[in-house]
């Protein structure tokens, strides 16, 4: 009785909030992202990078007024799906974006495509939607998951390593990661471990690494997981004996700041870095620093690029989001200045990226910096693109 009364009250409240307050002219963009849990800063940076681009134009993208609706999915696929439905059905969002985690994308993307809305990913690029299941309404502005780790694998190979121990969380992007690393590494894998998503303690895995005696370790542990792993890796005395070669998500600016000296010497592969020398990147860094007064992570760069990509499409259709064909064509053309220097889509609407090798160095003033040292893969396309018939 009590419970049913309460539910009634909640339902009434939701109904009240649902009464449409649509401002007629602004294009609604729904952003489902991860703002809580140990990966909360990933979503925060995607959002802040995106909003920086919106602010640069004074509330517009491509000259078209936009309203960005942001909600936290809490890394839960179910929550993400509900939010996306709400953005589309209640708020009338025609364009959705924001998802960090591939398992959330797995739940949200199909329902967005079913409604014939546009989805532009600022981060997650699971293999699931990159091959046969590619879709004309689905664009990824960051990378296809595997390619991040293919780049790390190629980097490890370049460095001459032959025996690797690899680990990643047991979820779609984790499986893509290990598959990607192995594809380019080519050497022997002396241990392959799937951890729990959100795991805090890695003592069991570290003992396995010690036992397996690899030459190097590759991990894909984004956000708080990566911080935990790195701290414990350092405390376990591994840093001096067994170097790490990872992809960008396992060594971003936040992880570096949180683990301190434990990060020095860690090598990573990335499609973007703060020291890439191009005008768009300089503008982005200066703008981000001025607005938020902190160092942007790779996620912020992806959020910014995503907004610029959407801006180029909105401009092409003059803000008429009902012109789906026009939007799709303009998005595919990707006529914008990317902070990574250049930007081009493969046939499956995933970018063809250059991948850079980096190493963490300590500067004279004691701060850490990810320094670009070379190019690992040039114009690298993901392996699923060939299965996509668009």
């Amino acid at each position: 009785m009590k419970l049913s009364k309460m539910l009634l009250g909640v339902a009434a409240g939701v109904a009240l909030m649902a009464s449409p307050a649509l401002s007629a002219d602004a294009v609604k963009i729904g952003m489902v992202t991860t703002l809580s849990t140990g990966a909360g800063y990933l979503g925060q940076d995607v959002r802040d990078g995106f909003m920086l681009a919106v602010e640069e134009e004074g509330g517009k993208l491509g000259g078209v007024p936009v309203e960005v609706l942001v909600e936290d999915d809490g890394r839960k696929p179910g929550t993400g799906k509900q939010l996306a439905e709400r953005f589309m059905k209640r708020d009338g969002a025609e364009i959705l974006t924001g998802i960090i985690f591939s398992n959330v994308a797995g739940a949200v993307v199909p329902s967005v495509l079913r409604e014939d809305k546009i989805y532009v990913s600022p981060n997650a690029g699971p293999s699931l939607f990159a091959g046969k299941k590619c879709n004309q309404n689905y664009f990824v502005a960051s990378w296809q998951n595997d390619t991040l780790h293919e780049a790390a694998g190629a980097y490890a190979k370049q460095l001459g390593y032959k025996k690797a121990f690899i680990l990643a969380p047991n979820y779609p992007a984790g499986r893509d990661a290990l598959a990607g690393f192995k594809r380019e590494f080519g050497g022997e894998i002396v241990g392959e471990v799937y951890t729990k998503l959100g795991q805090a303690d890695y003592s069991a895995e570290l003992a396995q690494i010690r036992d397996a005696k690899p030459e190097m370790v590759f991990d894909f542990l984004p956000g708080g997981m990566g911080i935990n792993f790195l701290k414990q890796y350092d405390q376990g005395g591994f840093k001096d004996t067994t170097p790490l070669v990872v992809a960008a998500p396992s060594m971003d600016a936040k992880i570096m700041a949180a683990v301190g000296d434990a990060a020095v010497g860690v090598r990573s592969a990335s499609h973007w870095n703060h020291d890439l020398d191009n005008a768009a990147n300089k503008k982005f860094l200066a703008g981000f620093n001025a607005k938020y007064n902190r160092v942007p992570t790779v996620y912020a760069s992806q959020g910014y690029d995503t907004a610029k990509l959407i801006a180029s499409a909105l401009k092409a259709v003059n803000g008429d989001v009902s012109d789906k064909e026009g939007l799709r064509k303009a998005l595919k053309k990707a006529d914008f200045e990317s902070v990574r220097g250049k930007f081009k889509f493969a046939q499956n609407n995933h970018p063809i990226n250059d991948w850079y090798s980096r190493i963490v160095e300590k500067q004279a003033d004691g701060t850490l910096v990810n320094k670009t040292v070379g190019v690992v893969l040039k114009d690298h396309m993901d392996v699923y693109a060939k299965d996509c018939s668009m």
């Binding site: 140990g38 800063y41 010690r210 708080g224 701290k231 700041a257």
Partner: protein, 304 residues
Amino acid sequence: MILFLEQMLNGLQLGVTLFLLAGGLTLIFGIMGVINLAHGSLYMIGAYVAATVSMASGSFFLGLLAALAAAAIVGMVMEFLVMRKLYARDHLDQVLATFGLILFFNEATVMIWGRNPVAMDVPEMLQGLVEIIPGVPYPVFRLVVLAVGLLVAVSLYFLISKTRIGMLIRAGATHREMVGALGVDIRLLYTLVFGFGALLAGLAGVMAGPTSSIEAGMGESILILTFVVIVIGGIGSIRGALVGAIFVGLVDTLGRAFLPNMLKLFLPPAQADGIGAGVSSMAIYLLMALVLIWRPKGLFPAHD
């Protein structure tokens, strides 16, 4: 064999950390009959305060003291303002209210410390490695965590079973009115017990700080493990919490370490990895189910 011993040690260490959380949670439930989902938030507060104070002052022990005080005070304030109104209510109401507290504390930490993870170093005198068995260096700090956890377990046992305050706590749990009639201030006793449980959660947070990333929401993932611990151990029983915590710590760690390899003995490697990863993350819930089939009230039920 050496690997197995090392993994046992890792499991024990996770176990005692879980015990610090489960001990307080089960004490609060056993004595006051109230379910506190926000117990993980006290763990988070412990970690945040320890990191902030120890980094600002340069002294780990100052950080430790500040964190214990903060967790205990927040716990007592929470009891006084919120929990007190819930003792007579349904468990569902308690779950709802304390879930609200989780959201409140998470949002408050984001407002105070921001969304970026906070860093905390291992105190200098506890840095480094010792060789526990030839060929196996083990971080000193982890051994200290293990020792502190065991020390707390033993002291708690003496406190509850051998002292006057322990007697009052045990009596207050079963014969509330009688103890009240004997002139003991039950309300004060409850507040103190709650504060003490909060202090233990804060201690767990301090010890997790140097090894893990301190971030909003860090209490929830460990809270789930903690609930599994007290269900296995028997709700309300300190002894149960200790045994349950050690069980869960060992099963979780050993499962992660050995299950995929064991499956590889009779399955193709790719399949074994997939199934092994899945089963090892379910291992503690399987353990819980087995224990509950065997003993529906847990291993050491507090009130028979």
